[in-house]
Amino acid sequence: MKNGVANASANTMTQIDNFSISSDAALLGRDTETLERHTLLRETVTSLMEASGGVSRIRGLRGRSPGFDKPLWKKMADLGWLGIPVPEEFGGLGLGIRDMCIVAHELGKWLAPEPLAASMALATGAIWRGDNTSLKTELLPQAMSGELCMALAWQERVGEIDFAAPNLTRAIRRGGEITINGRKSFVHGAPDGFIVSASGDDGMGVYWVPGDAHGLTATPIQLADGTFASDLTFVDVKVPADSIVASGKGANAALAAAIDDAMVVVSAELLGIMEAVLQQTLEYLRARVQFGRPIGEFQALQHRAVDLLMAKELASCALSDAIDTFEFEADLERRAEAAMRVKFRTSRSALAITRAAVHLHGAMGFTDECNVGLYLKRVIVLNSWLGNHDLHLQRLSNQIGWLTRAWH
């Protein structure tokens, strides 16, 4: 038995390498220079997370508005993470989806509640993709410095993914002023300020609304993982005419791109969560002794664990394809399809893995004290946001072009 345990430990280091092999293949850049930068980036995230108290720190943050650590958000800003996708002309790093995913993936392993996807990918993404240069110049530095943690308010109904028709929120322009009425649901990210989509006389528009705007009420909803989303009501909220982030076709394009980006970034986060919880579960299977042996020696559990590994590997494959598509494919429809595919797969696999992880930990897994439940709850939240796996499967099943094209 001693030898069995010793061998398992010797294997553990290789197994850790084996895990990172798969996400390396999906995430890291391939040329030497990019690979170096990515490796360093990843190490920076790991160091910050280790120095900040690891997974346990979220126990002190959950359920307490805003549900994440503002000083840490500032540190992330100082490291440049909040400006990763922002064009250099506005002070950002001008990097792409791959770099965003590397950070998100690593943060996922630590269950970091800081709203990187909601704020950096989604809200900031909508602003820099819009067409209002003076607004970009005003807002982007504040977003990137961590002073202003914004949220994109596009969703109005539960189970909704069609951002193009926000018919519960209307914006009317009169002279130099825009009046917004309506409501938004499930707005992820901090309520410092909102990028709001609304229908108007000229089609959809996207507007900047500060968090303290008169007539705006933000009601926090505590989510399963202890973070918060907001329900918003707008009663004659007035903003200056130059608060338009984007309008008409530009608004559609900006939102589509930002939401697609966010879906891929969240998928990377989900992959990180899967890897961390699988690793923890394997350690438990190796350590927990019953009937005179580590329970990981029992074939039934071995087979369950392998099936979880397979689910993780397939998710890694889908993420790899999504990142490659976003780097090399300009066609918006293909990008949207890749985003749906990866959000579907990573959500589905992550749910299966975290759910099984709780079970495999026995009664301990069902306690609050055991960390494994924290992974499950985070996945439940991320699965539900930006369309859960079932929703994306339905959407893809209605994409006749994709259905016929998926076959050579």
Binding site: L282, R286, Q299
Partner: protein, 385 residues
């Protein structure tokens, strides 16, 4: 020299397509069952004459000498064209094995005849009592002067009734470690004492056989590698095989067939069907990317690690998921007995695909055995003693 490795990948691809268009019998494209030797013989002879019969062998032994990358391209194109598997393990197994482990005499005796398609080989490994636990095999080879006397039985020997020769694993010593007493032998099927009995499978086809060996005399010179060293030799061939058993081609073809069936049944546009179809497309897309990752390892000249077993499980279970779906959607069509001899799939013959999806999860290491080794070698979960 390097006729086939020259030029660009696309040029090579074009060459392969042209070759297949020029020479492969159109009526044999995408057969739904394994072909008998007589059915594929003409194609085999053509391959031999054109020098295309052994893509994976070095040029000096009569092969095409393809780089791993070009070999994968060739296989991709063959799969795309629907080329049938040639029922000869001489090319895929015996050749590479003798090239690696055989004596000069053995190479000269056997390799040219494989290239000329004169000798057809089958594999004698599994026995009634030795399937997953192959190392417990009992077919005995007693040493007597300059030859072995072999007695025992092999089973699941694919196309033994078409083969002229067999390579087999036999027990030459009993001891504590059962795999250390196994030797690798070669024998003509015409050797006295060999009896072949085809086994009919549930699809009504006799594609594998029992092979009985009753005091069969095998000359000592037919021993490959060291005495008692057969197990290592048999395992050394695993390389490409481990990639191919996980090929997404079965799942891909099944998916195309599924859609044809749905259209034929008039349900191709229903939301219920489209959702099932979309889910299976997503499965196959991920499988293809997984396969590409492992193929990339092979083409870059590196060795496949134990993770590759994941591919086999994934590919075979995905195939089954698709054929299960086909059966469900086909209602009464699923219950019609398929023609035993049909070569091409009838639009609504889903039962043949369903049957064909059964063996891959069993052979080449059952999926349960694969899970055991993944748990041990990749996840670090020790094996119970």
């Amino acid at each position: 020299m390097d006729e086939f490795n020259r030029g660009t990948d696309d040029e090579f691809r074009g060459k392969v397509r042209q070759f297949l268009a020029d020479h492969y019998p159109p009526e044999l494209r995408n057969p739904i069952r394994r072909l008998k030797l007589r059915e594929i013989r003409e194609w085999q002879i053509t391959l031999s004459r054109k020098g295309w019969i052994a893509p994976n062998w070095p040029v000096e032994f009569g092969g095409m000498g393809l780089t791993p990358r070009r070999l994968l391209i060739l296989i991709e194109e063959q799969e795309r064209w629907g080329v049938a598997q040639t029922p000869d393990m001489g090319i895929t197994m015996v050749g590479p094995l003798l090239i690696q482990h055989g004596t000069r005499d053995q190479q000269e005796e056997y390799l040219p005849k494989i290239i000329k398609a004169e000798n057809i080989w089958c594999q004698g490994y599994s026995e009634p009592n030795a399937g997953s636990d192959l190392a417990s095999l009992r077919t005995e080879a007693r040493v007597s002067d300059d030859h072995f006397v072999v007695t025992g039985q092999k089973i699941w020997t694919t196309l033994a009734d078409d083969a002229t020769h067999m390579f087999l694993l036999v027990r030459t010593a009993r001891g504590e470690r059962k795999h250390e007493g196994i030797s690798f032998l070669l024998t003509p099927m015409s050797a006295p004492g060999i009896t072949v009995k085809p086994i009919v499978n549930i699809a009504g086809q006799a594609e594998f056989c029992e092979v009985f060996l009753d005091n069969v005399r095998v000359p000592m010179r037919n021993l490959v590698g060291p005495l008692h060293g057969g197990w290592t030799i048999a395992k050394s061939l695993l390389g490409f095989e481990r990639l191919f058993v996980g090929s997404p081609k079965y799942a891909r073809h099944a998916l195309t067939h599924l859609h044809q069936v749905a259209v034929e049944l008039g349900i191709g546009d229903t939301p219920r069907y489209r959702e099932r179809y979309a889910e299976l497309i997503l499965d196959v897309l991920d499988l293809e990317t997984m396969y590409a990752r492992f193929a990339q390892i092979v083409t870059s000249g590196k060795a496949l690690g134990p993770q590759v077993s994941l591919l086999k499980i994934c590919a075979t279970e995905c195939f089954q998921k698709i054929t299960n779906c086909m059966m469900e959607l086909s209602a009464e069509y699923a219950s019609i007995a398929p023609s035993h001899n049909a070569l091409q799939a009838q639009a609504t013959d889903v039962l043949s695909s369903f049957y064909r999806s059964i063996p891959p999860a069993i052979y080449s290491g059952s999926n349960e055995i694969m899970r055991n080794s993944l748990a041990r070698d990749v996840l670090g979960l020790a094996t119970a003693r």
